[in-house]
């Protein structure tokens, strides 16, 4: 059995080695050998994946717990660095390291010839380290380390091409918006600490505590504090997982290299919010108000982002909004306490969204950096493998029967419908969103791969299929996109996935299980889902297959009413966050500081005037000075004598 500590250690080692290579080679003209760097870059995540796979096969029922050492030990607060490998972290780790390794492989092709080749892989390894720590840790504080760590890597990778200030700004935005959420996480932890001391940050202790509270019928006593903590944690999740209201950073994050978008901003990092909800499931299960908020936020996000996805021209932006929308589904599932379903969707989503992004990356690569879909078209013949991968992934995301998305999405919708409160209404919105999903994804596929090429003639010459090193990961992911769903094919009775998660989230789900089990045949849900997908695809075909695409002019950003919708939350942020802060800063800088400076100046001026006044007495005659001081002495002696020394 290998130590749990080794799993995050591999990517960390990789990061250090690659970082050293990057720094050392920065002076040289040529840069390090790409083959060597690429091998190292893939080796460490792959080792880590191997370790996880080994552990996953031999995992005992209760999971593996391992405390490495003490981290923080001060009065009132003591936290250890410890790892917890159970059903939940097993699944998360498997696909994090697996997809991470695949995308590292893909990046070798994608980043070929870039000046920051080694630096890029150092960041990727650092990201994997943080992500592994996030999911493997056994307490909230260590999770927070990974949580901020992945945010940091996201920042570094979005701003990877830092010569362009626009990328830096997007990176800054991502980090700051995430910071807002992180503060929520932080305060949530503090809130928990007030209830049960620092030990409660440990997941096991927390769930023990919750079960104690339930057994002792003291639920209503702790609910006020726990609700506050729950809401704070949820704010943290909205930041990391790009939910309303902290979602504006994700579309901008597409400024980074495409493999990064696939790995961080689709498959792994953005799903850590869902992971956290599932991890704290036992706590959230007690808090109906918070759960309702989560459902509503998830629903609104899913719907809003799906509509926004319709308006985008940039291929990566479409995928970004689609990610937000899918994350909305996952939150809806969490909100009805169907944590296993939400994690299942995280799992399948990781495959098909990564495949979509990698496909988009291959397209962009083929078109030498062009991202505007209005300038694409007809690529099916030029890049057939990429097109096949993307079409498979497309079928998965829209929930075409048999593909992975079908299983997970329908599962979520079913669970939502089953939940007692306002389940039906949410279900309807979810279904409508599914239709819209099919429409915008259909639009993406049609604009990109069908019709005729709309770019310039000379660029058409250079279109080529991606190299094998990029294609292999894509194909593997496409397989995943097709077959990953069969781990929990409810309708045909495979429940492997649910069973492996049950030890972790089972209790929470049981606590909040719907009181009335509606007797609806699962096949009905499947049928409705299929209809929604087909309807969406049909609409997309009708609208876009034969429509004349307006020629691309200027930027790929949407305009007019579409822009209002797309940038709705940007403008809300602007008015709620940025402008007030700037006004405050202006007041501090221009008003308060100037007042202080004026006060300071006034006091200084008074002192100067007094000093000048005194200085006029100082004539350039030494004897006169002495004479004056004798006079002063006389006066002093006289005063002392006259007052009898009592002065």
């Amino acid at each position: 059995m290998i130590s749990l500590g080794l799993i995050p250690l591999f990517p960390l080692l990789g990061c250090i080695i690659l970082g050293a290579i990057a720094v050392i080679s920065s002076g040289s003209k040529k840069g390090p050998a790409e083959g060597f760097v690429g091998t190292l870059a893939v080796l460490f995540p792959a080792l880590s994946f191997g370790g996880v796979a080994l552990l996953a096969l031999n995992m005992p029922e209760g999971g593996i717990r391992e405390t490495l050492c003490n981290w923080i030990d001060i009065p009132m607060f003591r936290v250890d660095i410890g790892f917890l490998f159970d059903g939940l972290s097993r699944i998360m780790l498997l696909f994090v390291t697996g997809i991470g390794s695949l995308i590292a492989l893909y990046s070798i092709g994608y980043m070929h010839g870039d000046r920051g080749f080694a630096r890029y892989f150092a960041y990727i390894n650092l990201f994997l380290f943080s992500m592994i720590v996030l999911v493997l840790s056994d307490n909230l504080l260590l999770t927070f380390l990974g949580w901020e760590g992945v945010g940091l890597c996201s920042y570094l990778l979005i701003g990877f091409w830092n010569k362009d200030i626009k990328n830096c700004k997007a990176a800054n935005k991502a980090f700051i918006v995430n910071r807002v959420g992180d503060i929520g996480f932080l305060l949530g932890m503090l809130c928990l600490v007030t209830i049960g001391g620092s030990a409660i940050l440990n997941y096991d202790v927390l769930s023990n505590f919750i079960s104690m509270v339930i057994n002792g019928n003291h639920v209503e006593l702790v609910i006020p504090v726990l609700s506050v903590a729950g809401i704070l944690f949820f704010i943290g999740c909205t930041g990391k997982s790009a939910q309303i209201p902290l979602l504006t950073w994700l579309p901008d994050a597409m400024a980074g290299p495409t493999p990064v978008s696939a790995l961080i901003h689709a498959a792994t990092m953005v799903t850590s919010g869902v992971y956290l909800l599932a991890r704290l499931g036992s706590m959230f299960a007690l808090l109906p108000v918070v759960l309702d908020i989560i459902v509503i936020v998830g629903m609104l996000t899913a719907f809003w982002a799906a509509v926004a996805g319709l308006f985008q021209n940039d291929i990566k932006k479409v995928l970004a909004y689609s990610t937000i929308s899918q994350l909305g589904y996952m939150f809806m599932a969490s909100g009805v306490c169907a944590f296993d379903a939400s994690i299942f969707h995280v799992f399948t989503h990781a495959f098909f969204k990564a495949a979509l992004f990698l496909g988009a990356g291959a397209v962009i690569h083929a078109l030498a950096g062009e991202q505007d879909m209005r300038k694409m078209g007809g690529l099916l013949r030029k890049t057939p493998i990429t097109a096949c991968v993307m079409i498979f992934a497309f079928l998965a995301i829209v929930g075409f029967p048999g593909f992975s998305g079908f299983w997970s999405k329908d599962l979520i919708l079913e669970k939502i419908f089953m939940s007692s409160t306002m389940g039906q209404a949410v279900y309807v919105v979810g279904l409508i969103t599914a239709v819209i999903t099919a429409v915008y994804m259909g639009r993406l596929i049609i604009l990109t791969f069908f019709g005729s090429y709309r770019g310039s003639k000379e660029s058409e010459e250079h279109i080529h299929e991606a190299p094998a090193v990029m294609l292999i990961p894509m194909v593997i992911l496409a397989f995943g996109a097709v077959f990953a769903g069969y781990l929990w094919a409810d309708s045909i009775g495979i429940k492997f996935f649910a069973e492996s998660l049950a030890p972790v989230v089972g209790a929470a789900q049981a606590y909040n299980a719907p009181a009335v089990t509606a007797h609806v045949n699962p096949v009905v849900f499947a049928a409705l889902g299929t209809v929604a997908a087909l309807l969406g695809m049909f609409i997309a075909y009708k609208i876009y297959a034969n429509a004349r695409i307006p020629a691309a002019k200027g930027s790929s950003a949407p305009e007019g009413g579409k822009a209002t919708w797309t940038f709705l939350f940007d403008s809300i942020h602007k008015y709620v966050g940025i402008i007030p802060v700037n006004v405050l800063a202006w007041i501090c800088d221009v008003v308060v500081d100037k007042i202080l400076a004026a006060t300071q100046w006034t006091i200084g001026a008074i002192a100067t005037i007094l000093g000048d006044g005194a200085a006029t007495f100082q004539v350039r005659k030494v004897r006169l000075q002495i004479a004056l001081s004798i006079l002063g002495l006389v006066a002093l002696v006289a005063i002392v004598l006259l007052t009898g020394g009592s002065f």
Binding site: K621, V622, A627, I630
Partner: protein, 104 residues
């Protein structure tokens, strides 16, 4: 009539006053220095006079301090005269009022 401690102090006071007047009102720099010496002498006298009003052991202190004060006066005179020489070389004058190139 016996010698009173008061008389010594009054003598010291008178000499001190004269020394001060010499130091401040005369303009010749040598007189200034001499005035200072005079005043210092007066202070020494006052020390000894007061020392004699104290009982046994304590009285010796007042007689030792003037020794130091004399030694310091010697150092002062030494440096002061050197400065007078230096300034005289530049100014060709012993009038203290002409020595006024201090900033202020």
């Amino acid at each position: 009539m016996e010698l009173q401690a008061m008389y010594v102090q009054i003598l010291a006071l008178v000499i001190f006053a004269i020394g001060l007047i010499v130091a401040v009102s005369r303009r010749n720099v040598f007189f200034v220095l001499m005035g200072v010496e005079l005043a210092l002498n007066a202070v020494n006298l006052s020390f000894v006079g007061f020392a004699k009003t104290l009982p046994a052991e304590a009285s010796i202190v007042g007689q030792v301090v003037p020794l130091f004060s004399i030694a310091v006066a010697a150092a002062e005179a030494c440096v002061g005269l050197a400065m007078v020489i230096l300034i005289f070389r530049n100014r060709e004058s012993v009038d203290a009022d002409t020595y006024s190139n201090m900033k202020g």
